[in-house]
């Protein structure tokens, strides 16, 4: 961080106002200070500090043995990270954009995900894969994708997606402590858009716990990452028309906090799910299936998905591709009035 951020004490903790990039940076620093086996690797993360500057300053602080500027190979980054994780390290790999994870996909789904199972727990792979995902920076087809569903479908992986700086830092440290491979999706649209007070010290936010960010009675709205803000905006919008929306931030996508969702839907009887990824076989379909299975008799309206369209991610019209508030609002109203 070039400029010194405002810092203050809050209930005994020193907190600093940080954006998401700074909070993740602070989480990485904290985890690296706690445990010398934590090591970072990825393309351009060292000298450059990452194309989004998330790892800025860490190579200087921890040395080039702990912050590896790797060759341009996602297979190499993820494949060697697995080996490191098998031998006592806790590698945190950065994939520069989620769109570029596929060259290393095999190592994640066939190796990292299955290593514990196929050795009956004798070996395990405590690694974290950080990657910026989603639209909103005019990145077009290859700098905007949201491939979380592919990893949720893969047994053995955990999938996390924070929406704000506080959660991001705590979830990231928890993910690094976790003994299983964790995919950590960072909403790049939020990177510099949101600031919060974040404790300077290392802390954790547990995996697998969703958060009700806006309690409500009439419709449940489930979102995560960058779309959380859109859901929230839409909720505020429809509140003016008397529709009271409960907004849930999933935070961990898998294993899911199914209880939080089901109990909310049992209350509201209506649900709208929002995600950026294409609709078909997106995580929204799983949420609809789970809710329908578990709260069928409570449902007063069909669960609704407001999502990216089933096309590659476009450029010029990305604001019409993304499920922004203007598309969530009518969905909430329709659901409420069904």
């Amino acid at each position: 961080m070039r400029r010194r951020a405002p810092r203050q004490r809050r209930g005994g903790r020193v907190v600093t106002r940080m954006n998401l990039v700074q909070a993740i940076n602070s989480g990485l620093r904290g985890a690296m200070q706690q445990d010398e086996n934590v090591l970072l690797m990825g393309e351009d993360i060292g000298r450059l500090g990452g194309v989004f500057r998330v790892t800025q300053g860490l190579r200087e602080e921890f040395g080039e043995d702990r912050v590896l500027d790797t060759p341009l190979s996602e297979t190499g980054i993820l494949g060697t990270a697995i080996g490191m994780a098998l031998h006592g390290l806790r590698p945190v790999s950065e994939i520069q954009f989620a769109d570029f994870i596929y060259p290393g996909f095999d190592q994640l789904v066939n190796e990292a995900a299955k290593y514990r199972y196929r050795t009956a727990g004798e070996f395990h792979v405590p690694m974290v894969v950080r990657t910026p995902y989603g639209g909103g920076i005019r990145g077009g087809q290859y700098h905007s994708q949201s491939p979380e569903a592919l990893f949720i479908h893969t047994a053995g992986l955990k999938v996390v997606c924070p929406s704000n700086p506080y959660d991001a830092k705590g979830l990231l440290i928890e993910a690094i402590h976790d003994d299983d491979p964790v995919l950590f999706f960072e909403p790049k649209r939020v990177y510099r858009a949101v600031k919060m007070d974040v404790p300077d010290e290392a802390y954790t936010v547990p995996l697998g716990e969703a958060k009700v960010v806006r309690p409500g009675e009439h419709v449940t709205c489930v979102a995560w990452g960058a779309m959380l803000y859109e859901a929230f905006t839409a909720a505020e919008e429809v509140a003016k028309q008397g529709v009271d929306v409960e907004v849930i931030d999933l935070r961990t996508l898998w294993p899911l906090d199914v209880e939080a969702i089901v109990s909310s839907v049992e209350k509201t009887s209506r649900v709208v799910i929002v995600h950026e990824a294409p609709r078909t076989c997106g995580f929204g379909s799983e949420l609809v299936a789970l809710i329908t299975e578990r709260a069928f008799l409570h449902l007063e309206a069909p669960p609704v998905r407001v999502t990216g369209w089933d096309t590659p991610f476009p450029l010029t019209h990305e604001r019409e591709y993304l499920p922004l508030a203007h598309r969530i609002t009518p969905a909430l109203l329709e659901s409420a009035r069904y």
Partner: protein, 360 residues
Amino acid sequence: MHVIREDGSLDPTLDPGLSIDQVVALYKAMLRTRIVDDRLEKLQRQGRIAFHVGSLGEEAAIIGAAAALRDRDWIVPCYREVGALLWRGYPLQRYVDHMYGNAGDPLRGRQMPDHTFSKSHRYLSVSAPIGTQIPHAVGVAMAAKKRGLDECVGVFFGDGATSSNDFHAAMNFAGVYEAPVLFLCRNNGFAISLRTEHQTAARTMAEKAAAYRVPAARIDGNDVLAVWRAVREGVQRATDGGGPTFIELMTYRLGGHSTSDDPSIYRSQSEVDSWRKADPLARLRKHIEQRDVWNDDLESDWRAICDAEVKECVLRAEEKPAPELRGMFTDVYAEQPWHLREQEAQCVGGPRAKDEGDES
């Protein structure tokens, strides 16, 4: 291998024997590419376009190779070779429209700037993922060979791309199937911030070709005639049934990786300055001036022509509206299936974002 010597003269033992008109045409194309690049970079800084990835310093490698390929040969680009497409006569207006993602964009606003293509110019589509085009090139070459066509393929990629899965697979397939393909590795010293010497322990990229028994050459990529000569030799080999050739084009990326980059973080100005002395344009200009076919007047005339042309294209591009919204839903498949018909209707008939197209 130097064809154009320090003093501007040609090494007669290496001179590929281009006519002076051809040599001047190369220079003009290189300069035009640079002028276009400069202008686009400014437009990006002014916030008028979102992004640009340029070829400053690498024009000889790009234009020289494109010129040595025959019209019937395919070019399979990375993202930095729009100069090669312009060399083949692609309309500048179309390119600038694409840079704006407007209604004139042949991509219909579906991709980031600089992701061009043109079937009629035998120029495949730029993809952002590094390396993926390399096996495509081998496949095109295999198809040409199977179909008995007198064609070969030149595929561009960077030093960083040699670490990709696709490079490895493509080189291996090319070797095994003796595909008529030229691997044109622009070694510009960097993969974003990573220096070539950290990309691999190999001392040269050309060394890598031996792993696939692909003949290789390492060329001064700032010497356009050396590039031309090496690539034409590769074309000859390919069309003689001799299979693939790997050519390492040694050059230097004088600009940032793209307009999103800040190269001052990872390299010194003095390093850049020292490379500016090896500027491929200056080098070629010295030669053509020595041969009395170029001078300051011609230079400023040509600059003026190019400037005016770009300016005009920009003007027109800025007048054009955004591409049709419904264009977001076509070309996913040959025929639009029911779900995209539905989604198109929902989107086009639905509410609009407040500042659509204006995301920051």
